[in-house]
C-alpha cells in the first residue's frame, strides 16, 4: 500500500533538511522522514544518487481552459507539469471566458475536478473581462477558493481602478499579482529595445515600460498596505525598485521565469518565435541582475509563465507570432543547469524558490516534506545530461524556448498524493 523512497538526498527547505533521508509514504501522506527506514512495503524506490524535493509549485501557468483547448487543456497542461516535477500550479485567468466571476471560476473548478493530473489553484482576474474597467467581486471569488487576482497579459492602466483594487485587497487580505507593463511605452514592441531591436529591424520594448509600471503598482500597494506580487520580472531596474520597496517594508514579492536568467536578447537574433515572449528576453546586464536578484533573495519565486501557443500562431512572421513560451517540463532543468551547476544557488534556495515561497505567498498547504502533509514529491537526477526534444513535450503546444538545448539535471520521478505519477523511462 505504502511507498518507500530510500537512499535519496532530501532537500526540504521548510524543515532545514539537506541530507540523506528515507521517506515513507502512506495513504497519500508523508508518514515518516528518517535516516534509515526499514519497512516491508512492496513499493520501494531506490533514489541513490538522486535529490528528493517537495513537488514544485509553479505559480504562473496558462492552462488555456476554458476557451483555448487547441493550445492546452487542464489535462495536458497538468500532465506536462508532472513530467516537470510540478505537482501544484496556479492557473492564470486569461481564458475565454476570463475567470472574472464565481460562475466562471466554478466552470474552471469543474474542469479541474474532472481532468487535472495535479493540484490546480485558481487565480481570478482583477477586472471584468480583464479590460481594466470594472472590478470583479473579490470577496465572493475568494470564498469560492480563488487564491490570487491578476489581469495577467494586461496591466490595469487606470490608476483609480488599481487603487481601488488594492484597497479591496488589503481589506480582504487578497494577493494581487501584477503584470506590470505600460503599453503606451511598450507599444507594438516585440523584442528588447536597444541594439537588438535596431539590428533586427523590429519594434522594441523598453525596460522602462516594465519598471515604471512596477513602481506605480508598488506605490499603490504601499498606500493601502496591501500584498502585491510582481510577475515575470525581467530587467535590472525592476529588481532595484523591488529591493528598495522590500527595504521600506512594502508587502511585495516577485517572480522571474527561467528564460530571464538563462537566455538574452542575443538568442532572438535568428527570429525564432519560440524566443518571443512578454516581457522580452533582455540584455546580458539584465540577465545578470536577475541572477543577482535571485542570489540576494530579492526575487522570491521562479515560475515558468507556461504560455502554450499552437504551431499556427508561432510558425509565422515574428511580428505576427503570439508572445509566450511553454515551461512546465523544463523549469527544474533550467534551474539546475543555470543556477545549481553554475553555483548561483544551492538546492535549498532552489527548493525555496520553486516550492516553498509560492506556497507561502499564496497560502497553499504544500512545498514541504513535513510529516502529515500530502505526499507531493519530485525526485531529480541532478547530473543527468539531456536535450529537450519536441517529441517529449506533453503539452499540447510545443513552443519551448529550450528546444534542442543541452540541459543538466532532470526530473526522474514525480509522486503526487503518494502515487508515482511520472517516471523517466531511462
Amino acid at each position: 500500500m505504502g511507498l518507500l523512497i530510500k537512499n535519496g538526498f532530501v532537500i526540504d527547505s521548510a524543515n532545514k533538511i539537506s541530507e540523506p533521508r528515507d521517506i515513507l509514504v502512506s495513504n497519500g501522506k508523508i508518514e515518516k522522514v528518517d535516516k534509515k527506514i526499514n519497512n516491508k512495503t512492496k513499493n520501494t524506490i531506490n533514489a541513490r544518487g538522486k535529490i528528493v524535493i517537495p513537488g514544485i509549485f509553479d505559480m504562473h501557468v496558462h492552462l488555456r481552459e476554458p476557451g483555448r483547448e487547441d493550445k492546452e487543456t487542464v489535462y495536458t497542461g497538468t500532465l506536462a507539469a508532472l513530467a516537470g516535477g510540478v505537482t501544484q500550479v496556479l492557473a492564470m485567468p486569461n481564458t475565454d471566458p476570463a475567470i472574472d466571476s464565481p460562475e466562471n471560476s466554478e466552470i474552471l473548478k469543474q474542469i479541474i475536478t474532472k481532468s487535472a493530473n495535479c493540484n490546480v489553484s485558481i487565480c481570478a482576474a482583477i477586472t471584468k473581462k480583464r479590460q481594466g474597467e470594472e472590478l470583479v467581486d473579490f470577496g465572493k471569488l475568494k470564498s469560492n477558493g480563488v487564491v490570487a487576482f491578476s489581469d495577467d497579459g494586461n496591466s490595469v492602466d487606470n490608476q483609480e481602478i488599481m487603487d481601488e483594487a488594492f484597497r479591496h485587497a488589503a481589506e480582504h487580505d487578497l494577493l494581487i499579482i501584477c503584470h506590470s507593463e505600460d503599453k503606451t511605452l511598450s507599444k507594438k514592441g516585440v523584442v528588447n529595445y536597444g541594439f537588438t531591436s535596431t539590428r533586427m529591424g523590429l519594434r522594441g520594448v523598453s525596460n522602462e515600460s516594465e519598471y515604471k509600471r512596477i513602481s506605480r503598482d508598488i506605490e499603490l500597494a504601499k498606500k493601502h498596505n496591501a500584498r502585491i506580487h510582481i510577475a515575470h520580472v525581467s530587467c535590472k531596474e525592476s529588481v532595484g525598485i523591488i529591493k528598495k520597496a522590500k527595504e521600506q517594508g512594502v508587502k511585495v514579492t516577485c517572480e522571474t521565469a527561467p528564460h530571464y536568467f538563462s537566455l538574452t536578447e542575443e538568442d532572438v537574433l535568428g527570429y525564432d518565435t519560440n524566443k518571443k515572449m512578454n516581457p522580452p528576453l533582455r540584455s546580458e546586464q539584465d540577465k545578470q541582475a536577475i541572477i543577482d536578484g535571485l542570489k540576494e533573495g530579492i526575487i522570491d519565486v521562479i515560475a515558468s509563465d507556461h504560455a502554450p501557443h499552437t504551431e499556427n500562431e508561432k510558425n509565422i512572421e515574428f511580428d505576427k507570432a503570439e508572445f509566450g513560451v511553454i515551461g512546465l517540463q523544463s523549469i527544474l532543468s533550467v534551474c539546475t543547469t543555470e543556477l545549481l551547476h553554475k553555483h548561483v544557488l544551492g538546492w535549498t534556495d532552489i527548493v525555496e524558490k520553486l516550492c516553498l515561497a509560492p506556497a507561502r505567498i499564496l497560502d497553499v498547504d504544500c512545498g514541504t516534506l513535513s510529516v502529515g502533509k500530502n505526499a507531493d514529491i519530485a525526485i531529480v537526477s541532478p547530473e543527468q545530461d539531456w536535450t529537450l526534444d519536441k517529441k517529449q513535450i506533453l503539452s499540447k503546444s510545443k513552443n519551448s524556448a529550450f528546444l534542442n538545448k543541452k540541459l543538466k539535471g532532470q526530473v526522474w520521478c514525480t509522486i503526487h498524493n503518494g502515487q508515482i505519477v511520472y517516471m523517466d523511462k531511462e
Binding site: 536597444g194 522594441g204 512572421e317
Partner: protein, 306 residues
Amino acid sequence: MVWTKKDLLALEDLTKEEIEHILDTAGSFKEVSTRDIKKVPALRGKTVVNLFYEPSTRTRISFEVAAKRLSADVINVNIETSSVKKGETLIDTGRNIQALKADIVVLRHKHSGAAAMLARHLNIGVVNAGDGWHEHPTQALLDMLTIKEKLGKIKGLKVSIIGDIAHSRVARSNIWGLTKLGAIVTVCAPKMLIPVGIEQMGAKVTNDIEVALKDADAINILRMQFERDDRVNFPVQLEYFKTFGITKERLEKVKKNILVMHPGPINRGIEMSSEVADGEHSVILEQVTNGIAARMAVLYLVAQGK
C-alpha cells in the same frame, strides 16, 4: 573562394571575403548586359520565383532581368491574385513553390525576419529582396559595387547615409556591408529617425547635415516615407528639405568628386533637389544598372550553395 550558402538573407551574416566575392562576381557579370545578346547560360534549367509581398518596381524588375540574363526561368507571383489572399501562410506558400521544383525564391516582405524564417523551412535557396526594416542586402551590394566602380575602392572611404535610418533596411545593409569592407560610415537624420544603438553596428551618428557632407566620398540618400502612419512628430516635408535636403548649394561646399546615391524612388524636392538628382554627382541610374550585375552574382552564387 567556394560559395557554400544556399541563401542570401543579410549582409550581417556575411564575411568580408564573401561580400568581396559577390562584388567580384558581379563585376564579371556586368559585361553581359553590354553585349548584343545579353545572356549567359549560367542558370539554364533553373527556376527563380519572385515572391513579392510588397509593391516594388525597381527591385522586382531588376531580379527578373538578372535571372533572365542568366537564362533562368522566372516566375513572378502576384500576391493580389494568389492564395495569400485566401489566408495561406508564408511557409505554406514557400513549400508549394518548393514542391513545384523551383530553385530559388526571391522574397520581398513587410515583416523583418520573413526571409530568415522562410529559409529555415525550405531546402531551396532564398534571396532576401528586403524584409521590413531589417535588411535589403542586394541593394547594399549594388551600392557598394557602384562606389567601388566609381572610386576604385571601398576601404578607407567616407560614406554618409542620410534620411530615415530608423525604418530603413537599405541603411542597415549598407552599414554592415560598408563597415566590413573598411569604409567609415556616418548616418545622418533628425534624432527621432536615428534608431537606438545604431553606433553598435559600426556607424557614426550625426544630426547635422553639414557634418555628414564634410569630407564624404559618397552619400546615400534615403527616401523619406511620409506615408508612415505610426509616427508622432514626423518632420514636415518642407522642414525636412530645409534642414536635411541635398541641394546644389550644399554640394558646392564639399568634395568635388562626391558620389550622390539614392535607392529610389526619389521624392524630388524633399530629400534632394531635382538639380542634384539629375546633376553631375548623381549615379542613381548607374546604381540601377549595377543592380542587375549584383543580383546576377547573388543568384548565380546561391544556386551553387547547399
